[in-house]
């Protein structure tokens, strides 16, 4: 059950996307996320879909694997769609039973929001699928390095992120094991009201915290024994250096943003209510 969570995981493959500089991927993802919200038209969605399709196929990450990442946000997705569908009341009424009314505007924003949310998750998980956590944190470290001048502990934050990402799967596995062990001892994790459910989590959370602390102590010792003493004087095995392809990638991103801005805004395709 818990194993199904794929968000934030790296998917090893050899693709052009895997080889890009993490800074390119970070900035591009940021631009892409913004691009999702700057248009309101079918033409915009067509461009985003094509763009995303190309990027997904370039990434060599199987589509089914990417789709699994959507599972944990299914509820959030449904809630968002329902809110938009039933609570937006603009345009003519398409359908109504009693107080439930679906309007043109409601349907439109429900579909738009649903697609946006799905694309948002796919886009950002693509970044983590194609970038090792180390690269990711290196990228963040380097992008935000100027902040070090105003005493922001950029290296430390990046290191914390890297370690967190490394231990997420281990701790998920551990949660699974502890849950099974307590169920074997007759623990009931499903029935009861919210308060009872929360209480039933104690036999899982306490061992999990203890284990996390034990691992943290062990890891700190291992890092220390391997000569870790903060960011100072450290060299990099994989120093970040832009290559030609990275500049091309920036150019493509820039082009994409301009296209989507211009076409999505000024050349909307209108079909029915969309």
């Amino acid at each position: 059950m818990i194993r199904d969570i794929t968000i934030g995981q790296y998917y090893p493959a050899r693709s052009i996307l895997h080889r890009l500089d993490p800074r390119v991927k970070l900035v591009s993802t940021f631009l892409y996320l913004i691009s999702l919200f700057i248009f309101q038209s079918i033409s915009g969605y067509i461009i985003v879909t094509i763009f995303l399709g190309v990027v997904v196929s370039l990434s060599k990450v199987p589509l089914s694997y990417i789709m699994r990442g959507l599972k944990p946000i299914l509820i959030l997705l449904l809630v968002t769609i329902c809110f938009n569908l039933f609570l937006t009341r603009t345009g003519s009424v398409l359908f109504s039973i009693g107080f439930v009314k679906i309007t043109e505007g409601g349907l439109r924003s429900a579909v738009y929001m649903g697609i946006r949310l799905i694309y948002l998750i796919i886009g950002s998980s693509l970044m983590t699928f194609t970038t090792t956590p180390n690269e990711l944190t290196d990228g963040i470290e380097k992008l935000f390095k100027p902040l070090q001048k105003i005493k922001v502990p950029v290296h430390e934050v990046a290191m914390i992120m890297a370690i967190a990402l490394r231990f997420i799967p281990i701790l998920l596995d551990e949660t699974d094991k502890i849950m099974k062990a307590q169920i074997a001892r007759g623990a009931d994790l499903e029935s009861g009201n919210l308060f009872q459910k929360a209480k039933a989590m104690i036999p899982i959370l306490v061992p999990l915290f203890i284990s996390a602390f034990r691992r943290a102590t062990d890891l700190a010792m291992a890092m220390e024994s391997r000569g870790y003493h903060g960011g100072e004087g450290r060299t990099k095995m994989k120093p970040l250096a832009y290559k030609k392809r990275d500049y091309y990638a920036y150019l493509i991103m820039l082009f994409y943003v301009v296209v989507i801005f211009v076409i999505g805004r000024y050349y909307p395709l209108r079909i029915w209510i969309f």
Partner: protein, 284 residues
């Protein structure tokens, strides 16, 4: 009483890139009061197999019968099954969570719906069985030594008074003395309380010493299912799958090969010594 597995298959993460068949066509029966050893290296499917025995993991196909009743039929009381088939996981001390040793051991019985007094009575009995001294009952389980913690965790399952006790590598990470203490205690329980024990281990020596029957797992399949002496007679095949037999099995076979008239199925060092002495006398 018995647990019967029929054509069990189990596939992990079905339909994904990480799909893996963990169990293939498992057929076996575990009877009342027996001491069964399950052996296999990491990834052979032994841990997955035992999680099927109390319904924690559901087979992809096949059926499991507890006392001739299918545990997969709708409305089957799995909670009740878990009271009958106690499962002690690997590193069970990692599931301790209560403020005191006694409270932690009470967790299982409490979930069974017993009264406070009954829970305590059971917990105290179980703690006594695993050899935890009374003055430790009110201590925090986290203050105990590694071996003690593990025994408390085992007591937590024993207090549920199961008929079948399944232990997944109960001695992993313990030193030799800790290991012997725990295994001796489990064996004692098995004899005194007629408890059926299913011991998963990767130590051939441990299994040979205690088990009346051994199941060897390899790549999700049952490779052998027989009494220890017979299983170890396949020591060459066992080696091929990365397991091997106890050292004494090799010595005995080697000696026999060199013409010393000895039986090769000795299970303990003492037996082997006696057999060699006998063999030497026979020869001279």
């Amino acid at each position: 009483m018995s647990i019967r597995l029929e054509n069990i298959q189990y596939v992990y993460s079905q339909g994904t890139a990480y799909e893996k068949q963990a169990l293939r066509d498992i057929n076996l029966q575990i009877n009342d009061g027996e001491f069964l050893g399950i052996i296999g290296h990491t990834g052979s499917g032994k841990s997955t197999l035992i999680q099927h025995l109390n319904g924690l993991t559901k087979a992809t196909s096949g059926n499991i019968y507890f006392n001739d009743e299918s545990i997969y039929q709708s409305g089957y009381n799995l909670k009740n099954l878990r009271n009958k088939v106690g499962l002690v996981f690997q590193y069970p001390e990692h599931q301790l969570f209560e403020e005191t040793v006694l409270k932690d051991v009470c967790f299982g019985p409490k979930n069974q719906g017993l009264t406070e007094e009954e829970c305590e009575k059971r917990a105290k009995e179980a703690l006594e069985l695993v050899g935890i001294a009374e003055e430790l009952y009110i201590r925090s389980p986290f203050e105990l030594s590694g071996g003690q913690k593990r025994r408390v965790a085992i007591a937590g399952v024993l207090a549920m008074e199961p008929d079948f006790l399944v232990l997944d590598e109960p001695t992993a990470g313990l030193d030799p003395r800790g290991r012997d203490e725990i295994l001796d205690q489990i064996f004692y329980l098995h004899q005194r309380k007629e408890l059926a024990v299913i011991l998963v281990s990767h130590s051939m020596e441990d299994i040979a010493k205690y088990a009346g029957r051994i199941i060897v797992m390899n790549r999700g399949k049952v490779l052998y299912d027989d009494e220890p002496g017979k299983v170890f007679s396949h020591y060459k095949e066992l080696e091929k799958v990365g397991l091997g037999a106890p050292q004494i099995t090799y010595v005995m076979n080697e000696l026999k090969g060199k013409g010393l008239p000895v039986q090769t199925d000795a299970r303990t060092v003492e037996d082997a010594a006696k057999e060699i002495i006998k063999g030497l006398k026979r020869k001279s």
